[in-house]
């Protein structure tokens, strides 16, 4: 009986080990969940001042109401947003829209480009204004807006944008 019990235990251990290996292997293959929002201090002068809020497509109206339709039409999956502050004064909001595919991001990005925007090399394509930066990378469409305009605002926003794109 002792032998039989040890035999069962050995088989159980082998089976459990195999299952654990499979589980570990599959976890390793999965893409790690992305948190693209830079933490406070990760970018010089920038502090993350709010929790990240994430809205599924069906709930996007709670955040942007009438704007939601164009994102839904372009295939938005989720929108995440967080507030930031630069050097304790300049307030900004980072919105990251995860689209179903790059085409969706391209479609929304195109609406943000105008004659007075300045091209910047962030992500697959990016533009900057005095108080905002918009860029896309793969299925991600990122919009960063500042609520004040200072001479240092454009550079500060682009520094934050580079930190975001590096995490996407």
């Amino acid at each position: 009986m002792i032998f039989r019990s040890q035999h069962v235990s050995a088989r159980w251990i082998l089976t459990a080990s195999a299952l654990m290996l499979v589980a570990l292997a599959s976890t390793g293959c999965k893409k790690k969940a992305i948190d693209p929002f830079p933490a406070s201090g990760a970018v010089s002068g920038w502090e993350k001042t709010s929790d990240t809020r994430t809205f599924a497509a069906k709930d996007l109206y709670q955040y942007i109401d009438g704007d939601a339709e164009q994102y839904i039409s372009a295939g938005v999956v989720t929108t995440s947003t967080s507030d930031y502050k630069y050097q304790g004064q300049l307030e900004a909001t980072v919105d990251i829209h995860t689209m179903r595919d790059a085409e969706g991001a391209r479609k929304i990005f195109a609406t943000g480009v105008s004659n007075d925007s300045k091209n910047i090399s962030i992500g697959d394509a990016g533009v900057a204004y005095a108080q905002s930066v918009i860029f896309r990378k793969g299925p991600y469409l990122v919009r960063i807006v500042a609520y004040q305009s200072t001479p240092g605002t454009p550079d500060a926003l682009q520094a934050l944008a580079r930190a975001v794109v590096a995490k996407l």
Binding site: Y61, I64, D65, G66, E91, T93, G112, Q131, A146
Partner: protein, 334 residues
């Protein structure tokens, strides 16, 4: 016009006569059709102050209060703002100030304007605890710079996320919605305090569209450029009866890309648009947006595929919410 110190001095005097004020259900000046009794036209005031923002770009609170006083004086024909407010709001009733913070910090009803209205309401005899500043939720209110407070001994400020919505839906035409309990239960009268914006779908969002913030699922009302849903929603009896006055914030605005904040499309009309007829107000606001778009070299809202057709719908024989015909709008620009 008197200066602010004179107004504050007058407040002390005004307080003495509050006890003798008649207990009107709603103040006498407001009438259902929102028309001038003599001309049969809807009155709309656009009050401007180019110096509303100081040299540092910051909003000057004193100028905001003065601008509000000028607008109300023009609208009511009464120079003393406290006297004027007494003819707009009833005493002993809960007055809601429905702000709009959907666009976030950059393009929400200005705190200085909310506080100016609250100050004048109190001077006109409305107790602090009878003033309820409200919107969809905490985030929208905080975007205006407001702080949540449900203590009824002070001016209250909370969203429909606190009050909840009525269980039973209301329906008028295409609008089938559940209303915020702040509107149905907490307020006797509501002053709409929208902020002027371009709107990707509706064309313009201002007085009537602000009512999307009083329902549980505003997104369901966006089909067809929000037409006829905006008009239908505003016909729901409790909205029609309680939302009696509008102090429209056109201090700053976005003339394209709204309703969200697009700093590259931000503009400062430095104005308030005041009146009772929300259709006439929206018609007036629409023209302001069109003029700015033309100045910026943008297409008209019609050419951009987002004409605010709901304004004409609201004025039609079915809805009769007010006038969109410029001939029937008595526009006073000061």
């Amino acid at each position: 016009m008197k200066n602010r110190r004179e107004f504050l001095q007058a407040t002390a005097t005004g307080a003495l006569i509050l006890g003798s004020q008649s207990k009107l259900g709603l103040a006498g000046m407001i009438d259902h059709k929102a028309t001038h009794t003599e001309t049969g036209k809807s009155r709309v005031v656009i009050a401007r102050d180019p110096a509303l923002h100081g040299p540092d770009g910051q909003l000057d609170e004193k100028h905001v209060l003065d601008l509000l006083d000028r607008a109300i004086a023009q609208y009511t024909g009464r120079d003393n703002p406290i006297d004027a407010w007494k003819h707009i709001v009833p005493v002993g009733k809960a007055i809601g100030l429905k702000t709009n913070g959907l666009g976030g910090k950059g393009i929400s009803t200005h705190l200085a304007l909310v506080m100016a209205v609250a100050e004048r309401l109190q001077q006109a005899g409305v107790k602090a605890g009878e003033i309820i500043v409200w919107d969809r939720n905490r985030h929208d209110l905080e975007a205006c710079g407001l702080t949540i407070n449900t203590d009824a001994s002070k001016m209250r400020c909370y969203g429909s996320d606190v009050s909840g919505f009525e269980d039973t839906p209301e329906q008028w035409g295409t609008a089938r919605i559940r209303l915020s309990k702040i509107l149905t239960r907490d307020c006797d009268m509501v002053i709409g305090m929208p902020i002027l914006k371009d709107h990707t779908m509706a064309g313009v969002t201002f007085a009537m569209k602000n009512m999307y913030g009083v329902v549980d699922r505003p997104f369901d009302l966006h089909a067809g450029g929000c037409n006829p849903a905006v008009a239908d929603l505003n016909c729901i009896p409790v909205i029609r009866q309680k939302v009696r006055f509008t102090i429209g914030d056109a201090i700053s605005s976005v003339y394209d890309g709204g309703p969200g904040f697009h700093p590259e499309r931000l503009w400062q009309p430095n104005a308030l648009i005041v009146g009772e007829d929300r259709v006439a107000i929206d018609q007036t606001a629409w023209q302001m947006i069109e003029r700015k778009r033309a100045e910026a070299g943008l297409n008209t809202l019609e050419a951009a595929g987002k004409p605010p057709r709901y304004i004409a719908t609201a004025a039609d024989a079915t809805h009769q919410l007010g006038f969109n015909d410029p001939q029937k709008i008595h526009l006073m620009e000061i």
